[in-house]
Symmetry: D2
Subunit: 343 residues, 4 copies
């Protein structure tokens, strides 16, 4: 059995890791840390786990964590980088769900995240944990930078277009809509139901931290020269991301449906829907899937790709477990074979 530790078990990605891992047949949850809830039973704080989890929150302790086989960081940005080296030196595999190791250009990282990086030399060792692109590297990685939620939906949506050089890389648009759980479990006015319920708005149009991550990823897929306009929106639901992607096609004769189906036919967690479909975020709610549909309205050269995920599963904790499965040589789907909750 894999001995697993979770640092920061009281946020939404932390409790989602718990939801998945308590039923994972090859994992024992050995440590769950939380400064605010240390000493409390996990299922007292999260009654959805009642009867399924005997763990007790503890203060973070490098020795306890160092005795694990793998440690997940479900922490705010800037935390994982403080402890990653010590854990790696003890032979612990580290899977970071925050942004600490996602951006290879450390100056760019500092500009967007507003802090100095604590271990810039480790960044190049980190593998970007998007299995559909980096599966082989993930299998032998010691340190995984789990992709952000928006970047997962956007990159999987654009991937076949960019890989195959089919579109004008300098005019990409990602109009993306997220449920409010993406803002995390933080007491802030804008996340109140009275503020975000029954309303819709864009935010951070002039620059969101996921922009450099997406641009880096798209540049690595193809011949570079990516220019992306990325507009995130807040939608009045709890879970789900819907990316609507726009690109200008160079050659109108390509069969996009076939290209997408072939690219993803061996991927367990990416479904290319039938031509003419419109994916609905509810169909991936609670599951680790990405569902994609491709359209070319009025047969013009603008391609519209629709890509949906659950931001907390494929966009965070489910993908983290998918990475863990690969790192430990397990079946990639183990513990992730859940069905989305409908309705």
């Amino acid at each position: 059995m894999i001995q697993a530790g979770i640092v920061g078990g009281t946020g939404y990605t932390g409790v989602e890791l718990l939801r998945i891992l308590v039923l994972h047949p090859q994992v024992d949850i050995k440590v769950v840390t939380s400064r605010s809830d240390a000493g409390k039973r996990v299922d007292e704080v999260y009654p959805n786990l009642s009867g399924l989890c005997d763990a007790v929150f503890t203060e973070p302790d490098i020795d306890l964590l160092g005795a694990c086989d793998v440690v997940f960081f479900a922490t705010p940005n800037g935390t994982a980088m403080q402890s990653a080296r010590a854990l790696l030196e003890r032979g612990v595999k580290v899977i970071d769900l925050s942004a600490d190791f996602r951006i290879q250009d450390v100056a760019e990282w500092s500009r967007w995240y507003g802090m100095e990086h604590a271990c810039p030399d480790l960044i190049s060792e980190a593998v970007y944990g998007l299995p559909e692109i980096n599966r082989t590297a993930i299998q032998s990685a010691q340190l995984i930078a789990c992709p952000g939620c928006y970047p997962t939906a956007v990159q999987l949506g654009f991937l076949p277009l960019i890989e195959n050089g089919l579109v004008d890389n300098a005019h990409l648009i990602a109009d993306v809509k997220s449920g409010v759980s993406g803002a995390g479990r933080k007491a802030q006015l804008t996340s109140l139901m009275s503020e975000s319920g029954e309303s819709f708005k864009a935010y951070a149009v002039n620059g969101h931290r996921h922009l450099p991550e997406i641009t880096q990823g798209l540049n690595q897929m193809g011949n570079g020269s990516i220019k992306l306009t990325f507009v995130p929106h807040l939608t009045p639901m709890i879970r789900g991301i819907h990316a609507t992607l726009y690109a200008q096609l160079d050659d109108l004769s390509v069969d996009l449906q076939t290209i997408y189906q072939q690219r993803y036919e061996r991927e367990s967690f990416v479904n290319v829907l039938a031509a003419g479909s419109h994916p609905d975020t509810r169909n991936v709610k609670g599951g680790n899937r990405c569902q994609i549909a491709i359209h070319r309205p009025q047969n013009e050269n603008t391609v519209v790709v629709l890509s949906v995920i659950d931001n907390l599963v494929k966009g965070a904790s489910g993908q983290a477990v998918q990475n863990m499965n690969l790192m430990f040589g397990l079946n990639e789907s183990m513990g992730l074979e859940t069905v989305a909750l409908y309705p």
Copy 2:
């Protein structure tokens, strides 16, 4: 492997059965019928099952269904009673999620459901499928009448009080709130999001079909003489039932918390929460649990019991599978060990 059939696979309890059964380790889904969608792949109609279910909807056919080990009826009232005898005669176990076999008094049934019963002689053979009360009878049953969603939440909440004769049976009140999925997958004005979203109302205050079912159940638990005021409400969420139950305690010295804990300590799917708790429907969303808390405000003689379930799981399809597990000698929790989706 158990060969299972589902009649009426296109309503919410049908697709919820599919969600549970596709991952059940001892079940093969052999037949899924739907008059409206016959010929279509199940995962075309329900993309949340994409890649997890190869079944195709078929027209109902007694021979196909008769070759199953168990048939679930996830149909409107009045359907199961038409086919139950033929299936039972072929040795098929029948689990009816509708109301056809729930009421022992056939005249009473006809009065509330507005039709003649097609096989009144079978009613007495049917076992009321509430495992926390009828476990032994369920294990040897051929025909199960699965409890309604409201009756499950209300009966489990009142059970320890009535069984132990602790309250005035003639003055019981059940103020119950349901999510809108309880109204089913039917095109009707009152279920539109524009009509039921962001609003709250009571309905059927002068008489709801679940009243005789609850009253019958409560009468069987204790010494009879039940008089219940039952007020159902529609709450603007999709899944979940919250029952707030009121009863007049005879003896103020009893330790209700202990009585409840002892009654349910061996039940996998009933959690008695710590004293002072308030169960939240989100904590059972997608799971087969009932969570209960007991209060006695101002130490007066009015007991307030709070009881929550997911109406589609413990209130319908999950409980149906729990019954199936018992009927086939499996572990009662098999296929039902899921964690509620939070947030």
Copy 3:
């Protein structure tokens, strides 16, 4: 024109006062205070007022407020009592939307609100601002204690029963459901959409601050001896309160529908719905109405009264303006003739 001041203009009841008063034909909004937003234009903080309000938030200043004809306190409990005397001494009428002057028994008030009262002698001067009961006293009042949201819905629902001595006062139950805006515009975890959306729960079952206020009100209506079990719930919508009230009728021959209709026939803001109706909170959303229906299920002696209001209008700011209209001899409905927003 009435010169009006608003203290605490950045909470939900404050902005709701602004929404109503900017269009009131007899009111000039002279002062709006907010410590946190002082110096900002009101319509910058609340873009729904864009183009309709030129006011700028200021620091609270007793001289500026003292120059008004009326001052509304839309502040947390404990604030209005600090300034009320100074304003009253300058001849300013004071309308307090908080709880500072609602409870006549000052020791009881301190027990529930956890502080010493700053001006206990003023409490007896305050008039409880429920116009349907206290209209005459309100007309000549200088200091109004506006009722709480739950107390408004519950008292208007029980009023005809208690006034006429029709029920057993010792066994009253109020099962009440509120939208989340009732928790105010405060950054707290439990009010996040991810926490309170798509879920339903009871809270404060062992004692809510509105209990003594309701009990006091009901005692004053009839012959006293009220015992009330009050269970508040949080429902996943923004605005609206639905009270479901239970009482034991002494005499089954009374015509409750007629009694209610006669009691409220001259009230502009209380609608008694036709027999058999179920009021829906959406039908009063944004309006100052209370809609009520009366039921007697199975013709038994349990009366069920359904009473709905918008917690921010009839439950707070609308009722405050209704009081102001009465205090200044205006038409009671002035500025309040809005239609609820449906859907």
Copy 4:
């Protein structure tokens, strides 16, 4: 007083017309037709109007309608065109909220709406009722084609860019999100709360009926040659439209903020928000406003315009009344000075 008739008073745009007109100081509602509810009091069907409207639904009758000064059609497409000529011949002004007179090219109209037009000669007489563009023509019009909801939000957002020839007309994108009330008050599965709540999806990506209307409008604003990719989405809220518009700017030196402010400075119902703002649909809920913000992310040449309206007010019934006010020489804002409901 203007004598007004409403044909089709039982849909959402019909009841919204009633909500506005019952309080309009210059309007008497003389006739409200509804085949399904004929004979019922309007406030029985719509309890939000209780006590505010004495009208009774009647069968449509050309003589009754012909005695009005103005008749609004809040009907499905294809109805207004059957009666418009008869009413116009009697001197009645007609304001059609449906699509019957919006498209000047009758063949194009038939292709998208799937029927023959009943009075193609009247189309050219109809004035497209977007006051911010056609105010003068509206003032003298007898027949108004009220714009659709999506077209209102999109055209007002693009208008200053196209009018001034600032962008590449051949590469426009409108990614638009609508609340579910846009689908109308129709019993259909996809509009159930269980289907559309807590989920987000695009629809009709390959062609929505509002595309030709928008394209026609944008072509008339500038030098033609418009190519628009229009992707509508369904968002889990009841009211509101948020248009996110993308265009390629020709000249990076223009001051877009000033251009927008100047274009709309005399418009009562269009607010250009401060630079850097993100309009929120809640801030226009129930009001007749359009709020707009302009961004140019990373100072690149892609302009992003955010434009929000309430689909039932500025996107339908409020705009219809704005047109009526213009046609009758009233203050354009009369009856429309409401404040959006927040929260």
